[in-house]
């Protein structure tokens, strides 16, 4: 007698219900511009993460004997000028000469060629402060220390501007985003507290928000910066600017959160949670704040560009990152050195600015894409 194993009934393929995020994600994937923005941002952050490897030089390397102040960019040649054939890429070494008519030091390419090697050993660094390395993506090696690649030219102390720009991306890309995150947390907390406790807490917090909004943000930042000494520890300066940016920016969000919480507070699910004996903190974090998730994601991504611009502005004014660290805005302040009339002699100092523009554009595309993805009226 044989027994047959009863065939398993096929699982009923119920239509999978999509979560809110699932819908948003599929909408987002249809938006090509937003995807490009997101992809470029991933690229930028990878670049920043491996900055020490990509940069041919160290963050603050400059020679005190061979002064290369505002060295012009060195074009990379791949053809031998004599034979016209392809060779290993090389740059010419530049020599300096005082122009006796204008008394300006002029850089001229000499005949010396510096071949460019890929994967050279050079300055020591640590990726993420953990993994040591000496390998650099490209460089001229250690044979002739005076012969260097200046992809974007040199800056005021003769340091390689490309290296500085790549290193600066680490600061420019993190401080703005970090400040937005922190100020969002503060805004959520303050708004939720104002709505939940009401009474004096509400009045105090909302008054404070009003005061913060009444003082021009730039002046408030300058005022707050003056609290710290001028010769501040460079690392501490980064945290300081992060904190200051986060401090001045949470007001708007707190107002919106408060309004939303006030209306949610009266709803049945909050009363139910209260009746079940949930504590204040639990009701706030688990029941009330999640109603704002979409709004927060969208405002977060849309306010990042503003913060990146503000950070670059502060660094431009000299109240941001301190030497040896620098951000893109700080690099731009070199355009001002020696009066603006001299900017025509060194237009390459404007290059870091285009990195700011590019990053902000990417964040805008991403933010607009997210906003449309979460907006039910714009579903396709």
């Amino acid at each position: 007698m044989t027994t047959t194993v009863p065939e398993r009934p096929a699982k009923p393929t119920s239509p999978r219900s999509q979560s809110q995020f699932g819908v948003a994600w599929s909408q987002f994937r249809k938006n090509r511009l937003a995807k490009i923005g997101g992809f470029m941002l991933i690229l930028l952050y990878t670049l920043a993460l491996f900055a020490p490897f990509i940069a041919p030089d160290g963050l603050s390397n400059y020679s005190t004997s061979n002064i290369t102040r505002f060295h012009p960019p060195t074009p990379i040649h791949i053809r031998d000028p004599q034979t016209g054939g392809l060779t290993r890429p090389f740059v010419y070494q530049y020599g300096q000469q005082l122009n006796m008519d204008t008394f300006v030091n002029e850089y001229k390419p000499t005949e010396t060629r510096c071949p460019i090697f890929f994967g050279v050993r050079g300055d020591e660094y640590r990726v993420l402060g953990l993994f040591p390395g000496t390998l650099h993506l490209f460089g001229t090696g250690a044979e002739n220390p005076n012969c260097k690649v200046y992809l974007f030219g040199g800056e005021a102390l003769g340091r390689d501007l490309f290296t500085r720009t790549i290193y600066a991306s680490q600061i420019s890309l993190t401080i703005g985003v970090g400040a937005v995150l922190i100020s969002t947390v503060i805004g959520l907390l303050m708004g939720a507290m104002a709505a939940f406790f009401g009474g004096i807490a509400d009045t105090l917090i909302m008054r404070f928000v009003e005061v913060l909004a009444a003082i021009p943000s730039l002046f408030l930042l300058i005022l707050l910066r003056s609290v710290f000494p001028q010769d501040i520890n460079p690392i501490f300066a980064l945290y300081m600017i992060l904190g200051l940016l986060a401090f001045i920016g949470w007001g708007g969000l707190a107002r919106v959160v408060r309004g939303q919480m006030m209306s949610v507070r009266e709803q049945d699910f909050v009363s139910a949670a209260q009746a079940l004996g949930a504590g204040n903190g639990r009701i706030m974090w688990r029941h009330m704040l999640p109603t704002m998730t979409t709004y927060i994601i969208v405002t977060l991504s849309l306010s990042i560009p503003g913060y990146i611009l503000l950070e670059s502005g502060l660094s431009f004014l000299g109240i941001g990152a301190v030497e040896p660290y620098v951000s893109w805005g700080g690099l731009l302040s070199q355009a001002q050195e020696g009066g603006f009339a001299s900017i025509t002699q060194r237009p390459w100092v404007l290059i870091p600015g285009f990195f700011i523009v590019f990053t902000v554009m990417c964040y805008q595309l991403l933010g607009d894409g997210l906003r449309d993805a979460f907006d039910p009226r714009k579903r396709q």
């Binding site: 021009p216 943000s217 300058i222 502005g313 603006f340 404007l350 805008q364």
Partner: protein, 326 residues
């Protein structure tokens, strides 16, 4: 309307007081006190120091110091700038006026750029012109104003070198300012103002143009505009009288909130164009720890902003008659 304005004015007093309290508190946090830089200055005698200490009540508890500082400010005494050895108000007032000129000029240009572009974008929605404007403005949103200004300076310098045209790009006045007649002086200042103001207006215009376009589109679809069209008003009246006046209400209401950002934005351009405004002086004041100067600037601009808010309320009452009743 008067009670409405009075109410707004009274409401702004606590904000102002709290702002001054915040500013005072921040200054208290700073290392040392107002006199620390002065004590290092050999030009200030010990009698002067003692007099200052008495004047500012530095030997008293903090809350009394605050009241004293506030009291002095009501009398128009903002303290003494240690860097310039002069009363703060005398030094900062001309600077504040300069910044205001730039801010007003840029505000005028800002609206005269954003309004036509926004209305055009709504009236000719999705036309090639509208799309082109949107793309350009979107691109401009990414530019920090100071970077845009640096690029403009670069091109103007190139233009100057190429053509020999004398386009003023720095400062507020030409070298021969004192020799010019009064009208010429005004024209000279105006010539210096126009480029920074234009740069600021253009770099800010993107946001407002989008808002106006969106508002216009929304109002254009409303019933009363359709009714107006149906009863046969001209296209121009339908757009400007029926749609535009309603579309700008939220914008007029928002002018007051825009002012702090405007003053900050002006600051960056002042630095780039070496314009004798508030921000360049504030930045040097940080370096020299001239705290009364910093506090004075911050307090006065905050007062001015609150005045600006009242003006924007008046404007709103003019544009929207419903406000007067409420």
């Amino acid at each position: 309307m008067i009670p409405f304005l009075l109410r707004r004015l009274v409401q702004s007093i606590p904000t102002l007081l709290l702002a001054s309290l915040l500013i005072f508190f921040v200054i208290q946090l700073a290392p040392g006190d107002f006199l620390t830089p002065a004590k290092l200055n050999p030009n200030i005698s010990s009698e002067q120091l003692a007099a200052l200490e008495r004047n500012f009540g530095l030997d008293r508890p903090a809350w009394q110091q605050y009241l004293l500082w506030m009291g002095n400010m009501f009398k128009g005494d903002f303290g003494l700038s240690f860097q310039y050895q002069q009363p703060v108000l005398d030094i900062i007032w001309p600077r504040i006026l300069n910044s205001l000129y730039l801010a007003v000029m840029s505000l005028v240009l800002f609206y005269s750029i954003a309004i036509p572009l926004g209305v055009y974008g709504a009236v000719r929605q999705n036309s090639p012109g509208d799309n082109a404007i949107n793309v350009v403005l979107y691109f401009l949103l990414g530019f920090p104003s100071f970077f845009l200004a640096l690029i403009v300076i670069y091109f103007i310098l190139q233009l100057r070198n190429a053509t020999g045209l004398d386009i003023p790009i720095g400062g507020m006045t030409s070298n021969n300012f004192d020799e010019l007649p009064v009208f010429g002086q005004m024209l000279d200042v105006l010539k210096h103002l126009i480029i920074p103001a234009l740069v600021l207006a253009i770099s800010d215009a993107a946001g407002l143009t989008r808002v106006i376009r969106g508002q216009m589109l929304e109002v254009m679809r409303s019933d009363y505009v359709r009714t107006a069209r149906a009863k046969g008003v001209s296209e121009r009246t339908a757009i400007w009288k029926h749609t535009f006046r309603n579309a700008i209400l939220p914008i007029v209401a928002g002018i007051g909130g825009l002012l702090p950002a405007l003053i900050s934005g002006v600051g960056f351009l002042e630095v780039v164009f070496a314009y004798p405004g508030i921000t360049p002086m504030l930045l040097t004041a940080i370096g020299t720890q001239d705290l009364y100067l910093i506090a004075g600037f911050t307090v006065i601009t905050t007062v001015l902003l609150i005045v600006g808010n009242v003006i924007s309320d008046i404007l709103l009452a003019v544009v929207d008659p419903r406000v007067k009743v409420a």
